[in-house]
Symmetry: C2
Subunit: 166 residues, 2 copies
Amino acid sequence: MKVVSIIGRSGSGKTTLIERLIPELMKSGLSVATIKHDAHNFEVDKVGKDSWRHKNAGAKMTIVSSAKKIALFADSNGDSSLESLCERFINGVDVVLTEGYRMSKYPKLEVTRVENGELICGAANNLKAIVSDYQFDRGVPVLKPDNISEIAEFIVKLPDLDEPDK
Amino acid sequence: MKVVSIIGRSGSGKTTLIERLIPELMKSGLSVATIKHDAHNFEVDKVGKDSWRHKNAGAKMTIVSSAKKIALFADSNGDSSLESLCERFINGVDVVLTEGYRMSKYPKLEVTRVENGELICGAANNLKAIVSDYQFDRGVPVLKPDNISEIAEFIVKLPDLDEPDK
């Protein structure tokens, strides 16, 4: 399994890139999970649903399970690290793409548009590539955002968790 | 930790009972998680949200994590057993209340109204009590649905997972 973070400023195109990478990675037979860091107090379940009623009544965690899907809603005491989320919840997938988690140890691709200004990530953050239509000289490859197959190939070549860093 | 299932026919009042039991159990300092079996193909995340976009692009699992909450959406190949859901996802709570899961090994309370007809659960299903305004002679206590503190006490006295059955 490998964990790769797609990071960048708000509006840089992180979600769109992840949305396009998933089917591209799946074409190569890889299974993908995603983890998104949310800085806001997001609301996901639907008011009035049974699971919402359970959670709203004070349950620390509510799970809904059907033959096709599982959904889980849990309280958190502060931001969970990417490491702990992977350990607690992820198994049986080939690639975990994260949106955000700039401070984790995992390899990162930064997405940026010219209007996004300075990069937020550098070598110290394990930056492996920049995804942009513009040129950068930061000692890492610059990949074009529309060249999804190239970005997917780059991700596939990044080391797995149990391999030494290349 | 103990796992107790609230079972009963559709419309018998399972969700309402769970919704009332959670704060009652919390009054005693207990933390509660819930697991609901859903027979339908429920939709929980909101169309257009980033997490929905990840999942909809083909991710097998999508997690959203903020400082206050964690949400997880995963594919499932058939109904997960209650045992496997508990093992995979639950830790650090005192009581797990489930809505449904009649066929699990865990102790059960059946909720029933007179219009619900025959009970769906018996001694073979580890039925521990009936929650109803009507009388039943099935060798287990019959608890009144409005006497929430009595039902909560009954649940608290059920054996923990690591105790031998009482």
